[in-house]
């Protein structure tokens, strides 16, 4: 094979050499040479989306569910700007992506040429790094560097802007092994002394807790395995952020449920009352901490993270440990065992007793109905009817997302794909397609709100074209439910523009796309309807008409501390008369 080739061929060759199997993209003038190369090969599969934002979210779903970087190919100008929301989403949630954008020829850059946009300028703040490649001879090496940067250290999206003349011109191909990547080498091994100090504190802690996040998932399945072993070895309780669900099994004995703004009562109170907090791959986001001055006021905090800038950003870490979660957990476990694996056996049972008291509040309790489907009930049925299946869940953003996090159980990592940091409505449908492309045999369900779902519904066309049998489970409350909830609780019930007016008939919409539509509005029919969805061999749009005014609880209003949590009507009674009265 000759090593001299066009830039366009180099792109395809570099992707192959990086082990890429799937590219999500959309063609246009500035990437035609690359599309021409894609046409002439069969190793890389191209998934044609319907909107570039969809391509990026699909690549995110692919990446999150496989642990491999997602690859996106879009054209210049509008192609690139359409991708920006997805790229920002990936940055916030640390998803490794390599985004290739076409650009006008180098001699036209700066001329306001047709479909020119300053793509590297626009995406500089929303990528981990980006490059404008002006010479074909640098193209292959840049692509290899891009994969390195996207996947090493804290993962994130990177972008390579490739002018059209660079795609046409020829140059010498540089294979991955010859590409210089030595300069970017984030630290992966934790500081031994700090790890030993942490192990020491873990032995004496009376009220310890593991607080884990998306970093555990990003670190790979081995990190989750080590985490499970460590939790079993210590018998400490564990909670996780939205992004970290599945790292520790939701059915595990030490699991307290998700924490944060809509987290479980027991998880938030345990965080508030702990004396040793072990943060693992989590970043103390404001959805987690509430009011920072009152955040877990009496605890010593250890923080394990690969990104030094996450440490001490929001909350002071008494024991900062910079390193890859897998490496640090392995070493912590070693040290823990070498020291005799001795938790504070006298104090731990008391801590667990306290937690069990909080659990009795049953904070997810809600008033069910036999007339209207409660969204929580719908998710409980979905959970029950899909248990034991090889199941992947994506979500849109809103109340349904929080209910999905609360009511579905994730026993494995990489099974839960949601837009956490950016909170991007429109994420779930394209993400579900990306997941399904990566796992053709699996059951992939997007738990959606009707408003979010409409934001990228054009991607049903993609699902049809590529036979991705994704199930769109829409909890249709005919409201921007989460917005409505805030307006009810915090803006004097002034419901400014939080209705979903003029909704489409989702069943007819499904027919129009050529897939199956199911409507369900009666709790009695729900099980059969869900089974019908699961049994159908192809994409389904499930319009689940739910209670319109249900609120998502527990809730810590922004800026409030963890112990000022709002509970739903159903559990408030218990909180005050029962165990709630005994709490701190």
């Amino acid at each position: 094979m000759t090593k001299v080739m066009t830039g366009a061929r180099m792109v395809v060759q570099a992707l192959k050499d990086q082990g890429v199997e799937v590219v999500f993209g959309y063609p246009g003038g500035a990437v035609l040479p690359i599309y021409d190369e894609i046409f002439q090969q069969n190793d890389i599969r191209h998934i044609l989306v319907r909107h570039e934002q969809g391509a990026v979210h699909a690549a995110e779903g692919y990446a999150r569910s496989t642990g491999k970087p997602g690859v996106v190919l879009v054209t210049s100008g509008p192609g690139a700007t359409n991708a920006v929301t997805g790229i920002t989403d990936a940055l916030m949630d640390s998803i490794p992506l390599v985004v290739l954008t076409g650009q006008v020829p180098t001699f036209l850059i700066g001329n306001d040429a047709f479909q020119e946009a300053d793509t590297v300028g626009i995406t500089r703040p929303c990528t981990k790094h980006n490059w404008l490649v002006k010479e074909t001879s640098k193209l292959a090496e840049t692509i290899h560097q891009a994969f390195h940067v996207a996947t090493q250290g804290r993962p994130g999206p990177v972008l390579i802007d490739i002018p059209k003349d660079v795609q046409f011109a020829t140059g010498t191909y540089v294979p991955p092994a010859k590409a210089r990547t030595d300069h970017y080498r984030p630290r992966v091994k934790g500081d031994r002394a700090a790890i030993e100090r942490l192990a020491e504190l873990m032995e004496t802690a009376e009220r310890p807790i593991f607080y884990t996040g998306g970093g555990v998932i990003n670190s790979g399945t081995e990190a989750s395995r080590l985490l499970r072993e460590l939790v079993a070895a210590t018998d400490f309780p564990i909670t996780s952020t939205l992004m970290g669900l599945g790292a520790y099994p939701g059915s595990g004995k030490n699991w307290l449920g998700m924490l944060g703004m809509h987290g479980l009562y027991e998880a938030n109170l345990a965080m508030h009352g702990c004396d040793l907090m072990i943060a693992v791959g989590a970043r103390f986001d404001d959805r987690i901490t509430g009011r920072v001055t009152d955040f877990s006021p009496h605890s010593i905090k250890a923080h394990i993270d690969i990104d030094p800038s996450s440490i001490n950003k929001v909350i002071h870490a008494d024991i900062p440990i910079v390193g890859d979660v897998t490496e640090v957990l392995r070493e912590l476990l070693e040290v823990w065992k070498a020291r005799g694996a001795k938790s504070n056996r006298a104090a731990l049972p008391k801590w667990w007793a306290k937690i069990d008291g909080w659990r009795k509040v049953n904070c997810l309790n809600y008033r069910n109905s036999d007339k209207v489907i409660k969204p929580q009930y719908a998710l409980q049925r979905l959970e029950a009817l899909t248990r034991g299946r090889d199941r992947y869940i994506t979500t849109e953003v809103g109340q349904h997302q929080m209910w999905a996090a609360q009511f579905l159980t994730f026993d494995d990592p990489n099974r839960w794909m949601t837009s956490g940091g950016l909170g991007t409505m429109g994420y779930g449908l394209p993400a579900s397609i990306g997941v399904q492309i990566a796992h053709p045999e699996a059951l992939v369900i997007n738990v959606a709100g009707e408003a979010s779902w409409l934001m990228n519904m054009q991607e049903m066309g993609t699902a049809m074209q590529f036979r991705a049998p994704v199930k769109q489970f829409i909890l249709n409350n005919e409201r921007l439910g989460m917005v409505r909830q805030w307006q009810q609780l915090l803006h004097g019930e002034r419901y400014s523009h939080s209705w979903s007016e003029s909704l489409p008939d989702f069943v007819k919409l499904a027919e129009a796309f050529g897939c199956k539509g199911i409507l369900c509005s009666d709790p009695k029919d729900l099980d059969d309807a869900i089974m019908e969805m699961l049994d159908y061999d192809g994409p389904v749009i499930f319009d689940c008409l739910v209670e319109k005014h249900e609120n998502c609880f527990p809730m810590i209003p922004s800026g409030k501390p963890h112990n000022e949590m709002l509970l739903g009507d159903a559990s408030t009674e218990g909180a005050i008369s029962g165990a709630g009265g005994a709490l701190v």
Binding site: T293, L490, P557, S558, M565, L566
Partner: protein, 186 residues
């Protein structure tokens, strides 16, 4: 602990209203940042400061290693100790950044800035300007019958002081390079 009881319609303001809880001391730090001299690198560094609301008091940049394609950016910034720590961590994790040194805490450092002052005047003012320039060891790099351009090097404070003295003597314009700094010793 009990559940909060929010009265219906009780709140008129948005709950997004969050204030920073840190009202700490504000410190000034001089950072030396060694970066790849590639296109966009300065925009990246400046974008970090503007995007995250950090302060830039002064910034200088030039290539210092031609063969290694390295530039040195010297940034004087202000913030709480926590913010300064964040700035350093954020700079360090940028892909083209090789090294970040906080010259304010890493031991004694020499800091110098160069400035040009145009001072116009006649008679006593002109004589006084020249006399003060001499005291400050400023050089005259241009002169006409009614104006001087002085070149002065020193710490930012020295240049500030010189500017204050020149103001009443006919200061017309001034240009400052921003601070360049190096740690003392080998």
């Amino acid at each position: 602990m009990q559940a909060l009881n929010i009265k219906k319609g009780a709140s008129s303001h948005s709950a997004y209203d969050l204030r920073t809880p840190y009202e700490d001391v504000i410190e000034t730090h001089t950072l030396a940042v060694l970066v790849d001299n590639e296109s966009g690198v300065l925009a990246r560094v400046i974008g970090l400061f503007s995007g995250r609301g950090y302060n830039i008091e002064s910034l200088t940049v030039a290539e210092v290693d031609h063969r290694g394609h390295l530039s040195r950016i010297t940034i004087v910034t202000r913030g709480t100790p926590q913010v300064i720590e964040q700035i350093k961590a954020q700079l360090e994790r940028m892909v083209p950044v090789h090294e970040v040194h906080d010259l304010t805490v890493e031991g004694p450092a020499v800091q110098r800035e160069l400035a040009l002052f145009k001072v116009a005047g006649t008679g006593d003012h002109r004589v006084e300007a020249l006399r003060l320039a001499d005291i400050f060891r400023a050089n005259v790099v241009d002169s006409t019958l009614e104006s001087f351009v002085f070149e002065i090097t020193g710490t930012a404070e020295k240049i500030d002081a010189f500017a204050e003295l020149m103001r009443p003597l006919g200061l017309k314009e001034m240009a400052r390079t921003g601070v360049a700094a190096l740690a003392r010793g080998a």
